[in-house]
């Protein structure tokens, strides 16, 4: 590693080099997190099977050469992650459902376009079925709520807003209409990941104006709403799928243009 920059040819190279130098340097790992990593690895890999007793705090202290504070904070972190349970006077044990960890998506990995498209694809799967189920199971109140959300969205775009939240609220109303809380919760989970990525609906350079762009979305929403009102699972599913396929393409274009 010489560190000498070998004749940067392109104009922006120096700036990028600077950015590389100035980047916040790697996290100086705390002792606690090191202990957490080690124990978590042992548990995940199964070397510490479910129900097994972890070494006592004293043993860990001596074995790893750290203070009790460090050990205890590490165990507290493992407990928070649902990997271990502690019983005062008895010890710390691998949690019976340590294998059932929540489904997590690291927001750091969402930088790449492909990663976002993958998530949109998963969302498509869930929402298409949600629309179908909603069309079968929605009460009159649910249908009314969906229609209301649709109207709010339409009104928002008419007044020139981006209407990101109103858009998502329409989808949430459909998920709620399934009367299956998992759909609503999972859509909420995905929304919190994806929505920040499209928070600026940039229309610069598009052939058509924002109005037409958003009007098409509203049109697609309308079709979905009609299908659900008509209690037609097939049409609802197809309408939702079509809507999200187009949304995916719209996002793909948007991202490629800003790159």
């Amino acid at each position: 590693m010489t560190g000498q920059v070998p004749s940067s040819s392109s104009p922006g190279a120096a700036q990028r080099q600077r950015a590389r130098l100035l980047r916040p340097l790697g996290a100086p790992k705390s002792l606690s997190s090191e202990v957490v990593d080690r124990l978590a690895e042992q548990i995940m890999s199964g070397k510490l099977p479910v129900g097994a007793k972890l070494p006592s705090e004293q043993e860990m202290m001596k074995g790893m050469g750290v203070s009790r504070t460090v050990v205890r904070e590490a165990v507290a972190a493992l407990r928070a992650r649902g990997l271990v349970v502690t019983r005062q006077g008895a010890g710390a044990f691998v949690d019976s459902d340590a294998g059932r960890q929540p489904y997590a998506i690291d927001p750091e990995g969402l930088g790449s376009l492909a990663s976002v498209l993958d998530i949109l694809e998963l969302r498509m799967a869930v929402e298409a079925e949600a629309a179908a189920i909603a069309s079968e199971r929605a009460t009159a109140a649910h249908v009314k709520a969906i229609g209301e959300a649709h109207r709010v969205f339409s009104r928002a775009i008419a007044s020139g807003e981006g209407a990101i939240n109103e858009d998502f609220a329409f989808h949430q109303a459909i998920a709620a209409a399934t009367q299956n809380r998992r759909f609503a919760e999972f859509l909420d989970f995905l929304g919190r990941l994806i929505i920040p990525r499209q928070s600026i609906r940039s229309f610069e350079g598009t052939a058509e104006g924002p109005r037409q762009y958003l009007a098409r979305i509203a049109k697609e929403h309308e079709a979905i709403f009609q299908a659900i009102s008509a209690r037609s699972p097939k049409r609802a599913r197809d309408a939702m799928r079509g809507h999200l396929v187009k949304s995916r393409e719209r996002y793909r274009e948007l991202a490629s243009r800003s790159a």
Copy 2:
């Protein structure tokens, strides 16, 4: 030289003693978890917005009448849950993506039949689309792997086994063929939740024997595999949906009979 007086060494001690006497015996909560709950509630509700600084350890100690050990373990737990980040010398702050919590399903709530059916419904949504995508995107190697998984399953049931794992492996192979890691990961997540529920494939009282029961599943798998091999998204989606709808009905019967 700590307090030789055992009675009231700290200000909050007497109060905690009283609470200990009055609390119902069923809820032995540790002080750390109480602090965690308090802080987590503040963060989730937005009273502590993203980026806000938490009170210092000293302030929390005085404010809640607990020791630094308790406060630090509580903060360690919040950090493990991704709710806060700590910077040495600066303080503890609400994490920028505290709102993007992982998608979790409490295994405790899975006791009721309806709850399990809800999850099966979500799985259906994901797997139906996964089958369709797999039929479009699977490489030759993927198709081969799916076929192999299908054969392993068929062979297992032929030798009289329950073949739970082989069954799931077939589904996993399809999810892997989407080349979208989210599908594989999410299916894995759902599988770890519901598989333990059906680990005993009880056939007592059923009209037909285990062989016929499992043979029908194999038949459905066969149809799915054929559709994917034929690169037909529509057929793959319908076959998978049909398979899971029937699986859901099978589970419903099974549960109602054992009840």
